[in-house]
């Protein structure tokens, strides 16, 4: 029997504590094929991949049912080590990087190049000396293949997430003998141009005969790159399609099980009203490695949705991080005319600023605590909300907490078993929703959201964006949204600042032409632009 399949997963089922998350899924991938896996948040995509990679979460929760054939042989993949030996590479949805290590050390994690020394000859291979020079060379060439010009000896800690993602990918590219490569939402954290870059690399890999399994929520990527696409819904296989015979609309419908509004390029053109300035940045600089902000001046108006866009590494991510005091900054900040203390996160929170970070794992969530606690955590600690006085004791008001959390779960469509479930056990996209819920719970005057829709499926994306608009309209909340996706910025913002080389290249209206946006993102200054327009 020779059908050319590198991987066949047959009738795979998986239960987490009695909760069936995969129900008899089949998946076939051929050598050199790019196969996309799509589905809503919590559909079971990552779980399926974790089974394939022999991850501990699977085996410590009772294993799975079904059969995996690798190279047409029935195989039991009991550990990541086994998977790697078979030639499976995986870029996980959550970063598998050690922040204290350099890029090289992370790329070569457990595949270090070593050389002999006197002692290793006697006592064995594990005492061979690390050959950092050759490791650096390898890392360099892997990074070069991805067009990354970051130094390989830099530590991961403090790098922007986009770079981290590329380091992960570089690690997989550096592995020789890989037959199947899994990418679990690699483009979620990338900007459009970075994502294009990655897609190109993936095509190259596929043409060299490597099979690729690619998970993404960006359906246009699915259409542009894949040969076949498998759609999951609630743990069930909906259909496997040949991509060229399908469309974004069809895939989206199959995913969600009903017709959906796809985020289209319809921009909003609100009337410009004169508003008061609520937050002013003067000569504001932020030292965020890879996302430096250099002496910018900005005025954010009360009650507007202010978008911040730009390419990765240009500094757009740094602004909100600096204002919230997460990265060192200098310059001046004025909130409602009063000077705001810099570099003091507590103070920023107390002054009614809230932040949904682009990096939810690091600064967003307490994974081994319940959804409830995660959602109320900041409001409880900073604003003393959800507390109840009993004589001399102040206790948490658990009834109120439960009610609020349930409301949030419903509003944001967080897919979970209950509000008591640990956040670590949610799917990636649902964790992102918990982050948003937490910021909303603070009832902030200004809400900073960075990449709010990252890793969220198209249905939920609309939900989140609609919610932001609703908050803005009904409660008059000022929203500052940083995003790599121009489409969503243009859909809901009143004004959009484009950041380039750490400076404000210009402020555009959502209705401005695509060309204007494109040019400005590439660093063309507003003056030159105006000349062009005229």
């Amino acid at each position: 029997m020779n059908n050319g399949y590198v991987l066949q997963m047959k009738d795979i089922s998986k239960e987490y504590y009695g909760n069936k998350v995969l129900k008899g899924v089949n998946l076939n991938v051929k050598a050199g094929e790019i196969h996309c896996l799509v589905g809503e948040n919590g559909a079971g995509k990552s779980t399926l991949m974790n089974i394939l990679f022999g991850m501990d979460v699977i085996h410590s929760t009772g294993g799975y049912e079904g059969e995996i054939l690798f190279n047409e042989k029935i195989t039991e993949i009991k550990s990541p080590k086994k998977a790697m030996e078979l030639g499976i590479g995986m870029v996980h949805q959550e970063f598998m990087l050690i922040p204290e290590f350099t890029i090289t050390e992370n790329i070569k994690l457990n595949r270090e190049i070593t050389k002999d020394n006197v002692i290793s000859k006697i006592l064995g291979d594990r005492l061979r000396t690390i050959d950092s020079k050759r490791m650096n060379d390898d890392a360099r060439s892997a990074l070069d293949r991805l067009d990354m010009n970051i130094d390989e000896w830099v530590r991961i800690v403090g790098l922007p997430v986009g770079h981290m993602q590329f380091v992960e990918i570089a690690r997989e590219i550096d592995k020789t003998k890989v037959k199947l490569m899994v990418f679990d939402e690699p483009t979620a954290v990338l900007t459009e141009s970075e994502a294009d870059n990655l897609l190109k690399s993936m095509k190259k890999l596929a043409s060299s005969g490597i099979a690729i399994l690619f998970i993404t929520h960006r359906l246009d990527e699915v259409i542009s790159i894949s040969d076949n696409v498998t759609i999951l819904r609630d743990g069930e296989l909906v259909k496997t399609l040949v991509t060229s015979e399908s469309s974004v609309g069809e895939i989206a419908e199959l995913m969600v099980g009903r017709k959906v509004d796809i985020l289209n390029k319809e921009e909003k053109n609100k009337k410009q009203v004169k508003r008061e300035v609520i937050l002013e940045l003067k000569d504001f600089s932020v030292h965020m490695p890879g996302e430096e902000v250099k002496n910018i001046n900005l005025k954010i108006e009360n009650g507007e949705i202010f978008g911040i866009g730009g390419l990765a590494g240009q500094g757009k991510v740094g602004i909100a991080n600096g204002i919230m005091g997460l990265y060192p900054s200098n310059g001046e900040l004025y909130l409602k005319g009063n000077k705001l203390k810099l570099n003091d996160t507590n103070n920023s929170l107390e002054n009614g600023l809230a932040f949904v970070s682009e990096d939810r794992r690091e600064v967003g969530l307490i994974l081994d605590s319940s959804i409830e606690l995660n959602i109320i955590f900041t409001a409880l600690n900073i604003q003393n909300k959800f507390l109840k006085k009993y004589l001399f004791f102040t206790l948490q008001n658990s009834k109120k907490i439960k009610k609020h959390t349930d409301e949030m779960i419903k509003k944001l469509d967080i897919r979970c078993t209950s509000s008591k479930q640990n956040v670590g056990k949610l799917s990636g996209g649902n964790q992102q929703k918990v982050c948003i819920a937490r910021a909303l719970t603070q009832d902030p005057d200004i809400l900073f959201v960075s990449e709010p829709t990252r890793g969220i499926d198209i249905g939920a994306k609309k939900l989140v964006l609609d919610l932001l608009v609703e908050l803005n309209k009904e409660l008059g909340m000022t929203i500052v949204m940083t995003s790599s996706e121009l489409t969503e910025l243009r859909k809901i913002s009143d004004r959009i600042a484009i950041i380039s080389e750490g400076k404000v290249a210009g402020i555009l209206k959502p209705g401005d032409s695509d060309k204007k946006f494109g040019l400005m993102m590439s660093g063309t200054k507003i003056k030159e632009l105006q000349e062009e327009v005229i």
């Binding site: 990679f53 991850m55 501990d56 550990s79 990541p80 080590k81 790697m84 996980h92 598998m96 990087l97 050690i98 922040p99 204290e100 290590f101 050390e105 994690l109 457990n110 595949r111 270090e112 070593t114 020394n117 290793s120 291979d125 594990r126 005492l127 061979r128 000396t129 690390i130 919230m324 997460l326 200098n330 996160t345 507590n346 929170l349 932040f355 970070s357 690091e362 600064v363 967003g364 307490i366 955590f377 900041t378 600690n381 900073i382 937490r438």
Partner: protein
């Protein structure tokens, strides 16, 4: 404007240096005050310090690898110390003395330590996250077995007879066992220390000269290289200046003929310690060392990248236990009498307090922390009784202070660790 920024930057660097090294700095201050209060002669203090550093450093250095491998402070080194003492009991019983006895006890201790380390490591793997408590309990538990073996089995099931080591009733070992060296030796006292002792100041002159030669070599090498060196030539010039100062002081002391000039150092013991330091540094540059670090920083990522986490932790524990066994033998050959049922008990606490004082934490440690910590910890030990006496008129207060230091520093450090773990970002 720019200048202000520069100064601000310097200030904040200074501040973060202080915060990072706060424990060490506090102890330096305590030591200095203690020395001033104690009215002990400087010669006495230095002599005691040389003794204690050469005696204890090895034990403290045995803690580094488990910390880097993410196991934390290895309270389990107590069982290593027991392995060492078991070996010493064996060689002393067989009447093998001096250097031969010493080397044999290192050899005998090895299999015991590997076994004990293996068992401890297995337990650590079963109690991940609770290794420190587990280590503490292992110590108590093993002590029970140790007492059972040497207090009850010796002379009954284990055939040991007719020596001064056994209690008069023929069952069990005596409370203290003499390891005396000398002309009619019955033990391994000074087996290592006594091989070669050198005048402290000759030692300093030679040592400083070596440092100078090394620094000059590095400077020349830096000059020939194009890339940016790890340490600038300026750093090496500072080394040279410090070395020159040391040499000048040494010559001064030697010429002046003060009582300091009589001090001697056990060169071979220090050399052994230096080798262990080198071992600790070099092993981190090997594959297994990289595995230690990886596992120490993230067990889950290590596992996903195919590292056998449990095995790596096991190896780290075994290495630590073996080193602790040898460290205890070095300790006892200096002391010269073995308190059969007492010597091992405090080993873990003291070594851990020392390395913490040197600036290590539950997750971070290096050779410098171990050496500085040993020196500071023992300085406090030397001066605290007399300092207590001058200050409160009672040497006992100084004793209390010692105990306070040991448990206080461990408690604070564990507390800080737990706090850092909980202090997730407030966003």
């Amino acid at each position: 404007m720019a200048e202000v920024k520069e100064i601000n930057k310097k200030n904040s660097q200074l501040k973060s240096f202080f915060i990072k090294n706060i424990v060490t700095i506090i102890f330096i201050v305590i030591t200095i005050i203690g020395i001033l209060l104690s009215e002990l002669s400087f010669t006495f203090i230095v002599n005691e310090l040389i003794n204690r550093i050469s005696r204890n450093s090895f034990l403290v250095l045995s803690l580094i690898i488990p910390i880097l491998a993410g196991i934390g402070l290895n309270f389990g080194i107590v069982v290593g110390a027991m392995a060492g003492q078991t070996a010493i009991i064996m060689v002393t019983y067989w009447g093998i003395t001096g250097l031969k006895g010493f080397i044999l006890s290192l050899i005998f201790a090895f299999p015991f330590a590997v076994l004990f380390g293996y068992l401890t490591g297995k337990l650590f793997n079963k109690t991940k996250g609770q290794e420190m408590i587990a280590g503490l309990i292992v110590g108590f538990f093993a002590n029970g077995i140790y007492q059972f073996v040497f207090l009850y089995l010796v002379g009954t099931i284990i055939p040991m007879k007719n020596t001064v080591m056994i209690k008069p009733d023929g069952v069990g070992l005596r409370n203290t066992i003499s390891l005396c060296g000398g002309d009619y030796p019955d033990g391994i006292k000074y087996a290592l220390d006594g091989i070669f002792r050198l005048n402290l100041f000759y030692f300093m002159i030679i040592g400083s000269s070596l440092v100078m030669i090394y620094a000059v070599y590095k400077i020349l090498k830096n000059r020939n290289k194009k890339y940016i060196p790890v340490k600038s030539s300026g750093t090496y010039i500072t080394y040279i200046i410090i070395a020159l100062v040391f040499i000048a002081v040494s010559i001064g002391v030697l010429v002046s003929g003060s009582s300091l000039a009589m001090l001697k150092v056990p060169v071979i013991t220090l050399a052994v310690i230096a080798v262990l330091c080198l071992f600790n540094v070099l092993i981190m540059k090997t594959k297994i060392g990289q595995d230690f670090r990886t596992v120490g920083l993230s067990q889950s990522i290590a596992k996903v990248s195919g590292i056998n986490v449990d095995r790596t932790r096991l190896i780290a524990t075994i290495i630590s236990t073996v080193l602790a066994a040898w460290g205890q033998i070095i300790f006892l050959q200096n002391i010269g009498t073995m308190n059969t049922y007492g010597n091992h008990m405090q080993v873990g606490m003291f070594a851990i307090a020392a390395i913490l004082i040197g600036g290590a934490s539950v997750t971070k440690a290096n050779v410098r922390h171990a050496l500085i910590g040993t020196a500071l910890f023992h300085s406090v030990f030397i001066v605290s009784p007399t300092a207590g006496k001058t200050l409160f008129g009672d040497a006992q207060i100084g004793e209390f202070f010692r105990a306070f230091v040991v448990y206080g520093v461990i408690g604070i450090s564990l507390g800080l660790h737990a706090w850092k773990k909980r202090a997730v970002s407030r966003l």
